[in-house]
């Protein structure tokens, strides 16, 4: 992974020092609440329902085991609420009610602490750190080059990429050097720190779009032109929220070295003309939609002037590209032929032991690698008893241990809120499986229904209209049978507690959105959304299947939708694994929403909802 220079390290230390200065001035009354707010936000500090929330940046998802251990330490030492605060929060949340399961059990809020939460934008969040300890936490994080720079606020946010960047078998070019170059360029940008609204960039280097490019403010796809030269297909103006928008392509081919010159033009025009009168209309997608070709013309003219009149000062030099690329050091792995042989024997031995779950794990949690002797392994953080993407201090430490033993010390936070080990030797898969299983991180459910995305929702977030976590838990409880889960196949289930869409409900095959009706929690359900992956098809927002459902209706409605799928799906030619069939998303597209709407409606229970 990327090795930071002395300059990088010092920069992060100084940022921590600057934050301590700002926090101190706020505490001393020299900064008002309103003045401090954007400053703390640009360091990752929100104020939530019961306590502050810290969002730590994990640039393009890459974490060293050393960093993971410090994240664990923050969870253990700082993510600790005062007992009275926790009790008050728990009591308040319990008033929101419980979700009944078919077997009579009920799911309510169980507030936890002492953990980190992996987010869809590959950051790590904490929910209970008091602001009085904020500067100490930032100092601790800075010791391993972690920080909260621009993880919130109306600025250029953490850069995202494909979790398989640099190791994917289908890669056109490695996006990570460009991610890092953009991380540096966007950090404390003097002109772009007070934009109309937040600004998110995602970069993909593979043939498959695994970085949800169409959904980003800027989506960059590495491509090669007819002459074999490397460049970017540039999309601008995507986003979720109230106005889900898939970005149009602004440039089919931008030479790679012009990336920053061009983005400077894109963002400068946005900074000057983006709406600031209404925060719901302030994202760049609204400007691009409203201005259309006029926006594109302005960007092109600004880009021309940056290059021709100013000499394109941010042109990426070959030397800088080479330097950054070389700093993504591959781990020193022993890949001698002897290991290749041992690997085969070991795999055969294990296969002979007829471990069905191991076989499933090899299929769903182990991903191809550009190096034939290596694999990428997904540790599943989607398991009963934990919210999607939550990792306790002990689990983060254990994952760091796995990264050291099996993956050259590197792990990656994924968009789907799991942790990926990117450098696993094939012959070590059985040993890794056993170790991960002992930790409860080897559930063979990657890509399946229970590998759902969920935001923290109304249990923590002050923006949320409804809770996400009890809904997630109810569905997880219902679908514990692996045979059933595997029979349902690959399904993207995304849950957001409000229209801000942190749980990316718009791009879920099944999307669940929390809405507020008369102070009660209701949920709108959408079908047919896509993030742009091969499985999902071109990025598109899901369609609403009817009036919203009460919290207690949601698990039954999901079950009804899946029953329709089972009835309607077409069989495909099977293989040694058994019978195969059309994926959920393909069935939804083929048969349309009507049968799903009818089944969802039939699953309502208005009388009970009224009584509740």
């Amino acid at each position: 992974m990327y090795q930071y220079t002395d300059f990088d390290r010092q920069f992060i230390r100084l940022r921590a020092e600057q934050f301590r200065d700002q926090l101190g001035r706020w505490q001393a009354g020299k900064l008002t609440e309103e003045q401090f707010r954007p400053l703390r936000l640009q360091n990752g500090w929100y104020v939530q329902r019961y306590a502050p929330m810290l969002r730590v940046a994990v640039p393009y998802g890459e974490l060293s085991s050393t960093q993971l251990r410090v994240l664990a330490r923050v969870a253990r030492e700082y993510d600790q609420p005062e007992p009275a605060l926790l009790a008050e929060a728990q009591a308040t949340q319990e008033k929101l009610g419980e979700i009944p399961l078919a077997d009579g059990r009920r799911i309510g809020t169980k507030l936890k602490y002492g953990y980190g939460h992996f987010t869809t934008r590959t950051n790590v969040q904490y929910n209970w750190i008091p602001l009085s300890k904020a500067a100490d936490v930032m100092d601790l994080l800075a010791t391993v080059q972690l920080h909260g720079i621009q993880t919130s606020g109306n600025c250029i946010r953490n850069i995202n990429s494909d979790a398989l960047a640099g190791i994917a078998a289908d890669e056109i070019a490695d996006p990570r050097p460009f991610c890092e170059i953009l991380r540096q360029w966007s950090t404390l940008h003097p002109e772009f720190s007070f934009l109309p609204r937040k600004f998110k960039i995602s970069i993909n280097g593979a043939r498959e779009d695994r970085a949800a490019l169409g959904w980003y403010d800027v989506g960059l796809q590495l491509v090669k032109n007819d002459a074999g030269e490397l460049g970017f297909k540039v999309r601008v103006g995507g986003g979720m929220g109230r106005t889900p928008t898939i970005s149009p392509v602004l440039r089919e081919f931008l030479p790679w070295n012009q990336l920053m010159n061009y983005l400077e033009a894109v963002i400068r025009v946005y900074n000057r003309y983006g709406r600031r009168d209404n925060s719901w209309k302030a994202r760049i997608k609204i400007l691009v939609k409203a201005e259309g070709q006029s926006y594109i013309d302005q960007v092109n003219e600004e880009f021309r002037q940056i290059v021709e009149d100013e000499g394109g000062p941010h042109t990426i030099t070959q030397a800088e590209y080479d330097r950054v690329a070389a700093n993504f050091r591959e781990p020193d792995l022993d890949l001698s032929p002897a290991n290749a042989e041992a690997e085969t024997l070991e795999l055969l031995r294990t296969a002979a032991s007829d471990d069905h779950d191991f076989g499933r794990w090899l299929t769903s949690n182990v991903l191809p690698h550009r190096h034939p002797q290596l694999r990428a392994v997904m540790l599943s953080f989607k398991r009963l008893g934990y919210a999607p993407g939550d990792a306790t201090a002990e689990q983060m430490e254990a994952a760091a241990e796995l990264a050291d033993r099996f993956s050259g010390g590197e792990s990656r936070v994924t968009h789907e809120q799991n942790l990926l080990l990117p450098w696993v030797r094939r012959d070590q898969l059985p040993a890794l499986y056993q170790a991960a299983k002992a930790l409860g991180l080897a559930k063979p459910n990657i890509g399946l229904l229970t590998d759902m995305i969920a935001c923290p929702g109304g249990d923590f977030c002050s923006l949320a209209n409804a809770r996400s976590l009890p809904i997630a838990e109810a569905i997880t409880e219902r679908y514990q049978d692996l045979d059933e889960l595997w029979d349902l196949g690959e399904i993207d289930l995304h849950i957001s507690g409000c229209i801000n869409s942190c749980g990316h409900h718009h791009s879920g095959h099944i999307g669940i959105l929390g809405v507020d009706k008369d102070g009660k929690e209701w949920y709108q359900i959408t079908l047919g959304g896509a993030d742009g992956s091969n499985l999902s098809g071109p990025a598109t927002p899901g369609k609403i299947i009817g009036p919203s459902f009460s919290a207690s209706e949601v698990p039954g409605v999901i079950e009804a939708l899946l029953a329709v799928y089972r009835t309607e799906r077409l069989p495909l030619a099977g293989d040694a694994e058994g019978p195969r069939h059309e994926n959920f998303i393909d069935t939804v597209r083929r048969v349309g929403l009507d049968p799903f709407k009818a089944a969802a409606n039939a699953a309502r229970h208005p009388a009970e909802t009224e009584a509740a």
Binding site: P38, L39, E191, S193, F194, R268, R276
Partner: protein
């Protein structure tokens, strides 16, 4: 607050300087000076800059960052050589980025602790991106 404080960065390699004046010392009718008070939604390319000594750029709220781009264009593209003054709702935490965008004077509200402001200038020795005072990014300067 002193009459006009010149904030000087300690390290010799940084050249982001800025003159800070208090609100009561900010006047828009200075004899012999031609100045423009520029709303932040005005296109700087449409200005006649001939003979202009000073342009007052505006921050109606400190979170409204349009004037950063105006300053960057006036200084970096249009090569305006007169004074660029930041007026309105200005925080000391924004002074360094203002200097980097080409501002040379900022009007601060009364009662700001100048030691607090000076500390912000002393902190970072260099930045990643190029700016108006250092057009080349760090990687090209370091190369």
């Amino acid at each position: 607050m002193p009459r006009a404080t010149l904030l000087k960065p300690k390290p010799p390699e940084a050249s982001h300087t800025m003159k800070i004046i208090a609100a009561h010392e900010h006047h828009t009718d200075v004899a012999g000076q031609k100045l423009i008070e520029l709303p932040n939604d005005t296109n700087p390319f449409e200005l006649d800059l001939a003979g202009v000594d000073r342009i007052d750029l505006q921050f109606p709220k400190f979170t409204d960052g349009r004037a950063f781009s105006q300053a960057r264009l006036l200084r970096g593209r249009l090569k305006f050589a007169g004074e660029l003054r930041a007026t309105g709702d200005v925080l000391i935490d924004q002074l360094v980025q203002m200097a980097r965008c080409g501002f040379d004077v900022a009007v601060l509200r009364e009662g700001v602790d100048m030691a607090d402001a000076q500390r912000q200038f002393d902190r970072f020795k260099a930045f990643y991106q190029g700016d108006v005072t250092h057009p080349l990014p760090h990687f090209r300067e370091a190369a």
